[in-house]
C-alpha cells in the first residue's frame, strides 16, 4: 500500500528559508535508506505559499486567490510518497525523519484502483492505466 507523508509548513518554510548543508545531508541519508529499502516512490519540497494560488469553485464560479496563505500549520511544505506493507511501517519510517526540533508530518493512505467499486468501470480503469503508462513513457 502507498502512503503520502505530508510535511506541515512552519514560519521558516513559509519564509522560504533554505535548509543548511547539514540538514540537506541528513535528509539525503534518510532518503538513501528509503530508496535502498525500496520504499520511496517520490519526495518533493514546496516553495512558500506566497508563490502559489488557490482556485475556489462555488456555484459555477471560479475565484483565483493569490498566496501567501496565513494558516502556516495547515499548509504543506513537502511530501514523500512511499510504498510499504502497513500503516505501522509508514509510521516507523516517519519517526526516523531527521527533523531537528519541532515538526509535524501527516500520514495518508493513497487510493489504489482496487479500492473503488463498480463505478470505476473496466473502461475507466483501462483509461487510467493507459494514462499512467503514457506519463511514464513521456518521462523517460
Amino acid at each position: 500500500m502507498r502512503f503520502m507523508l505530508l510535511v506541515k509548513a512552519d514560519k521558516d518554510s513559509e519564509a522560504g528559508v533554505m535548509p543548511d548543508e547539514k540538514m540537506l545531508a541528513d535528509m539525503g541519508k534518510y532518503n538513501d535508506e528509503m530508496v535502498k529499502a525500496g520504499v520511496m516512490l517520490a519526495g518533493e519540497g514546496l516553495q512558500p505559499s506566497s508563490k502559489g494560488a488557490r482556485v475556489r469553485f462555488s456555484g459555477g464560479k471560479r475565484t483565483v486567490l493569490d498566496g501567501p496563505f496565513a494558516e502556516a500549520k495547515e499548509l504543506v511544505a513537502g511530501f514523500w510518497l512511499i510504498q510499504v506493507k502497513s500503516k505501522d511501517e509508514a509510521i516507523e519510517w516517519v519517526k526516523r525523519v531527521p527533523f531537528p526540533g519541532e515538526a509535524e508530518i501527516e500520514i495518508r493512505q493513497v487510493f489504489e484502483s482496487e479500492d473503488f467499486g463498480p463505478e470505476f468501470t473496466p473502461e475507466l480503469r483501462a483509461q487510467e492505466e493507459r494514462q499512467r503508462a503514457q506519463i511514464a513513457a513521456q518521462r523517460r
Partner: protein
C-alpha cells in the same frame, strides 16, 4: 516548472463517499487532456484521515496521533503534479477542473515545487540528482 495541485478535502471525502461513475469519467477526461498536452506528471487520491495518522516531533521526539482529523477544509483529499511554463498556465489548467466534483464546491491549491537548481551546490544535492530526484524533462 512543476506545481503540486492540492484538492482540498470536504465532508464527503472525509466520510469516504465513493465517487460516482460520472465523476470518475469526468476526471478521466480531464486527466486525458493534461496527459495529451504533456503537462501531467502524476495524480492520486487520498483515503480519509480516519485511515491516517500524524507524527508530531517536539524537541526531536516523535508522538503519534491517530486520525481522523477535524478541520476538513484544511486537509488534502488528492493531488496531481503538473509540468508547465508558468503559474498562470497551472491556474488555467486548474480552472478547467470538472465542475461536478464536490457538487461544484471545491477548493484547489496550487503550489510550486522546488527544483534541485533552486538549491546551492552541495554534495547532498549532487547525491539527490544521482538517485534520480526531480528528474528534469
Amino acid at each position: 516548472m512543476r506545481f503540486l495541485i492540492i484538492r482540498k478535502a470536504d465532508t464527503s471525502t472525509e466520510a469516504g463517499v465513493a465517487p460516482t461513475e460520472e465523476l470518475i469519467a469526468a476526471m478521466g477526461r480531464y486527466n486525458e487532456e493534461m496527459v495529451k498536452a504533456g503537462v501531467m506528471l502524476s495524480g492520486d487520491g487520498l483515503q480519509p484521515t480516519s485511515k491516517g495518522a500524524r507524527v508530531k516531533f517536539s524537541g526531536g521526539q516523535p508522538r503519534v496521533i491517530d486520525g481522523p482529523f477535524t478541520e476538513a477544509k484544511e486537509l488534502v483529499a488528492g493531488f496531481s503534479i503538473l509540468q508547465v511554463n508558468s503559474k498562470e498556465e497551472a491556474i488555467e489548467w486548474v480552472k478547467r477542473w470538472p465542475q461536478i466534483d464536490g457538487g461544484g464546491e471545491v477548493e484547489i491549491e496550487i503550489r510550486q515545487l522546488y527544483e534541485l537548481e533552486d538549491f546551492g551546490p552541495s554534495e547532498a544535492i549532487d547525491r539527490m540528482r544521482e538517485v534520480g530526484f526531480a528528474k528534469p524533462r
